[in-house]
């Protein structure tokens, strides 16, 4: 091969050759050899017994039994099946390896290597055959056939790929507007607690409190679990009450809140985890996934972490009875970014 670069392997200490075979203890001591044989046989011999034990446990240990032992709490069945089965399998392995190590001859042998590539002769012959084949196919003179074939084969890939385009609906502008760009929030939808679906009275919320909430109309989807899951994934909100004197409320959002009760999307603008950790002294809301931190006392701007956009705020007010109700849907799409998202309307620190 081209040796533009030299690799030298000098041997200042000459190769002493494969070390002489050293007898094992079992090779020289017949008693040790017999002991090894017995040990290996014991490994193999225990396996049927353990297998039988496994079957007995399967049939006779009820799944309700539990094992309590030194802080260990386990299903008895799982424990015994695993222990007996695991040890049985292990013993087969230990037996076989010991057999190879102690009983089988342990003379090292040496085998020659050959270069991975073919010899020049083989190459020549292969090339000849290829040449013969090409000649026989007459391709070199039939340019029309080879050209059309070269186009034909790749063109088959396109239909195959196209059939995959129906894997989901296409997110054109209309589809996006109906799905990822909207939620079921709308003017007049009541805010309800997320588990019990109870309406929330503004006066019942104390300063520092955080409530996980949902739109009241989420219950309309009870008969369609898939639609409900998709709606929940976007419409989940949190309501917090802060002391109005300690927070910044921009002019444009003066009437989005009720006496320091503010409502934000619960869906992180980073990759969409539901945000849950609330530090009520600082008004910071921390996402448990990658620790993006949003300042709910400042229109939800990011104060730390990998999220790049403020948490969307839901404009709310109270109805005639004092229950919290949405003034409109979200004014920007909630959740993580996507390419077609127009992110010029999101709140930025200092906006009014």
């Amino acid at each position: 091969m081209s040796s533009e670069v030299e690799v030298t392997r000098s041997h200042p200490v000459p190769d002493p050759g494969i070390p002489e075979h050293v007898e094992r203890w079992v090779d020289v001591d017949p008693a040790a050899s017999r002991r090894a044989e017995r040990q290996i046989a014991a490994c193999f011999g225990a396996v049927p017994l353990l297998a039988l034990g496994f079957i007995v446990v399967y049939f006779f240990v009820p799944k309700t039994w539990a094992i309590q032992f030194a802080g260990l709490h386990a299903q008895a069945q799982n424990f015994w099946l695993g222990l007996l089965g695991g040890v049985a399998i292990l013993l087969v392995g230990i037996g076989a390896v010991q057999w190879a190590r102690l009983i089988m001859g342990d003379h090292e042998i040496s085998e020659e290597r050959h270069p991975a590539g073919s010899t020049a002769e083989d190459r020549e012959q292969a090339l000849d055959e290829v040449h013969e084949g090409i000649t026989q196919s007459d391709l070199p003179r039939r340019k029309l056939i080879s050209t059309t074939l070269k186009i034909a084969l790749p063109s088959l890939a396109l239909p195959a790929l196209v059939t995959l385009l129906d894997m989901g609906p296409w997110p054109g502008p209309g589809m996006r507007a109906a799905t990822i760009e909207t939620t079921i929030w709308a003017e007049g939808v009541h805010l309800v607690t997320d588990v019990t679906y109870r309406r929330i009275k503004a006066v019942d919320m104390v300063v520092g409190e955080l409530v996980n909430a949902a739109p009241e109309n989420i219950q309309d989807l009870n008969n369609d679990p898939a639609a409900k899951a998709a709606a929940t994934a976007k419409a989940a909100i949190i309501i917090v009450r802060m002391d109005p004197n300690t927070i910044k409320i921009p002019q444009s959002r003066k009437d989005w809140q009720v006496d320091g009760i503010l409502c934000y999307s619960k869906i992180c603008t980073h990759v969409g985890c539901p945000i849950s950790l609330w530090e009520h002294q600082t008004h910071h809301l921390l996402c448990p996934c990658h620790q993006s931190t949003f300042d709910l006392g400042n229109s939800g701007v990011v104060v730390f972490g990998p999220a790049a956009r403020s948490l969307p705020q839901l404009p709310i007010t109270t109805d005639s009875e004092g229950y919290l109700v949405a003034r409109s849907g979200f004014t920007v799409p909630v959740g993580p970014s996507y390419f077609e998202r127009d992110s010029t309307h999101d709140y930025q620190n200092g906006d009014n």
Partner: protein
């Protein structure tokens, strides 16, 4: 010690004696003969049965990966008997009291059924998950073994690429499996993937809608991942593992350097019976250990997490360990997002998420070719390098591990902050620097360490090993007596290849006709840098001189015993 100087493969000493009398398969009758008549069994196995495999513990790493894959296939088939890949909603009425009456997907329900109602179901689930952890871990460490010993060099570059394919597929397979039970953790992971896919510039939304069949979560992602997990990726893994092993057989295994081992031979034990018994036995050992892990160590107790609901999450949720580095990159990447016109480019998700995986696997795939370009070495390599003798490669490897580890640690920045009471903010900033600084430090330290290890080798060859005996000279001085090392070791420490530095070749030949430069100036410089930390090994003369010098100096004190040892 007397030693044979050369070993020929046909020397009588190496023939394993066949006991006199009847051969076990005399005449190839019975089923073996029947098969041979049809498929030429004897022709196929002749020569291959006694194929030689070298022995070393580090060669077991690939085997562990292989065996855990087989365990995954076996346990996985059992799980498919009960698991229902459906996101249709049902109300749980099974054995586990705490979740009774709750709405959940059929996927989650059937996972609970497997865990509480199917005898042995929980065991098999846990064995499957442990085997998956082991599979990825073993493949990763196996890859490191290949890297640090230079086993990826010619002619094994293709097998290295197949290995990279295997490792990346293993990650996908693991992630798909993790997502199937549709519990709160796996759903959270899926939501992350949804956000990740979305962030791909230009086509992200389209990719998201096609993969999830519409908006997140939809009803089709679990069935689709199921197909990926039990058919598509296992099929690819099987095919790749087949090719991987076929190439190992074709190339014959590499071997560590040592007496009698050359680039032209392979020394070890025959496939049948020794290697078969060892490898077969080792399969059962790995299997037995994973079963015991599944018995004693609880893993992924999905009933504790509850069914997935898109508005809930548990604090401190973590992916399986092998996704930790991506998680870390996502956490510490600064919030760089472009809002251009009516579009949004989320680099802070795309780059650490998709880009990081691309960088890792792309970098790994490219390495053998980069190194070959730098060294210009075009010869075949079957003797492994001792990592210290390839200091720059070793330093790259350690730097890479450090880089990976920093991201991995960053994936637990909240846990770090909680455990050590630091501020999350400070830890995140520290990690942002650490991912750049730590690998550089690791590189420098490793290179120095390799050089001192090489120096240590030189010392042992020239002056012998420290004997632990302090000798007092007649004039009151002290020194530690050294014993010559065995020839076998001296050979092993001095057999490695050397790469003398290159003169850039002229770009014109002697007649002034331009010709393609064989060695450009730049190449010569990079190559010099690559081999700068390789110390020249002592020459035969130097060794001889050092030994005779040593003998003189110690003559007075040398005991008879010492003399006996040094006569080699």
């Amino acid at each position: 010690m007397a030693k044979p100087t050369t070993v020929s493969s046909d020397s009588p000493a190496l023939d394993v004696a066949t006991p006199e009398g009847k051969k076990p398969l005399a005449g190839l009758g019975g089923p073996a003969g029947w098969l041979d008549d049809r498929v030429g069994l004897a022709k196929l196995s002749k020569g291959n049965l006694r194929k030689v495999f070298p022995d070393h513990w580090s060669f077991l790493l690939g085997e562990i990966a292989l065996y855990s894959f087989i365990i995954l296939l076996l346990t996985g088939v059992f799980l498919t008997i009960w698991f229902k890949p459906s996101m249709a909603e049902v109300e749980y009425q099974g054995t586990y009291q705490l979740l009774r009456g709750l709405p959940m997907s059929e996927a989650y329900q059937s996972t609970l059924t497997l865990s509480f109602d199917v005898r042995g179901g929980l065991l098999v689930r846990q064995v499957h998950h442990w085997a998956a952890m082991l599979f990825v871990a073993a493949a990763t460490v196996h890859m490191l073994r290949i890297f640090f010993t230079g086993a990826f060099r010619k002619p094994r570059e293709i097998n290295w690429l197949i290995g990279i394919g295997l490792l990346s597929m293993a990650l996908i397979e693991g992630f798909a499996g993790y997502s199937l039970p549709d519990d709160l953790l796996s759903g959270t992971g899926l939501r992350f993937v949804d956000g990740l896919i979305r962030s791909i510039p230009i086509i992200g939304t389209w990719a998201e809608f096609l993969v999830f069949g519409g908006e997140f979560p939809g009803t089709i992602i679990v069935p689709r991942l199921y197909m990926v997990h039990i058919l598509l990726v296992p099929g690819l893994l099987l095919a790749l593992i087949g090719a991987h092993l076929a190439l190992v057989v074709y190339h014959k295994h590499t071997q560590y350097p040592g007496p009698g081992r050359t680039e032209k031979n392979v020394v070890g034990y025959p496939l049948f019976p020794v290697y078969m018994a060892k490898a077969g036995g080792f399969f059962f050992i790995v299997f037995g250990v994973t079963v015991l892990m599944g018995t004693f160590l609880s893993i992924n107790p999905v009933w504790k997490f509850g069914p997935y609901t898109p508005n809930q999450i548990t604090a401190g949720s973590q992916p399986d360990w092998y996704m930790g580095f991506v998680e870390g990159a996502i956490r510490i990447f600064p919030p760089i997002e472009w809002h251009l016109g009516h579009t949004t480019w989320s680099w802070q998700i795309f780059l650490p998420g998709v880009g990081m995986l691309g960088l890792l696997f792309g970098g790994l795939a490219a390495y053998p070719f980069i190194e070959a370009w730098i060294t210009g070495d075009k010869s075949e390599h079957h003797l492994l390098d001792r990592p210290r003798n390839a200091p720059t490669r070793t330093s790259f490897g350690v730097a890479g591990i450090t880089w990976y580890a920093m991201f991995w640690i960053a994936g637990g920045n909240d846990i770090l902050a909680n455990t050590f009471g630091g501020s999350l903010n400070a830890i995140t900033w520290a990690m942002r620097f650490a991912v750049w600084v730590a690998p550089v430090l690791a590189f420098i330290i490793t290179r120095r360490a390799c050089m001192s290890l090489q120096r240590n080798d030189q010392d042992r060859v020239l002056h012998g090993a420290e004997s632990g005996v302090i000798v007092r000279t007649p004039d009151g001085g002290y020194y530690e007596d050294h014993m010559p090392i065995p020839t076998d070791e001296a050979y092993t420490l001095t057999q490695h290849a050397e790469y003398p530095s290159l003169e850039p070749t002229a770009a014109v030949d002697e007649n002034g006709v331009p010709m393609p430069a064989q060695v450009t100036k730049r190449r010569a410089r990079v190559r010099d840098w690559f081999f700068r930390a390789n110390l020249a090994k002592p020459s035969a003369d130097e060794i001889a001189a050092a030994h005779s010098h040593g003998d003189e100096a110690h003559e007075v004190e040398a005991s008879d015993e010492h003399k006996a040892v040094s006569q080699h």
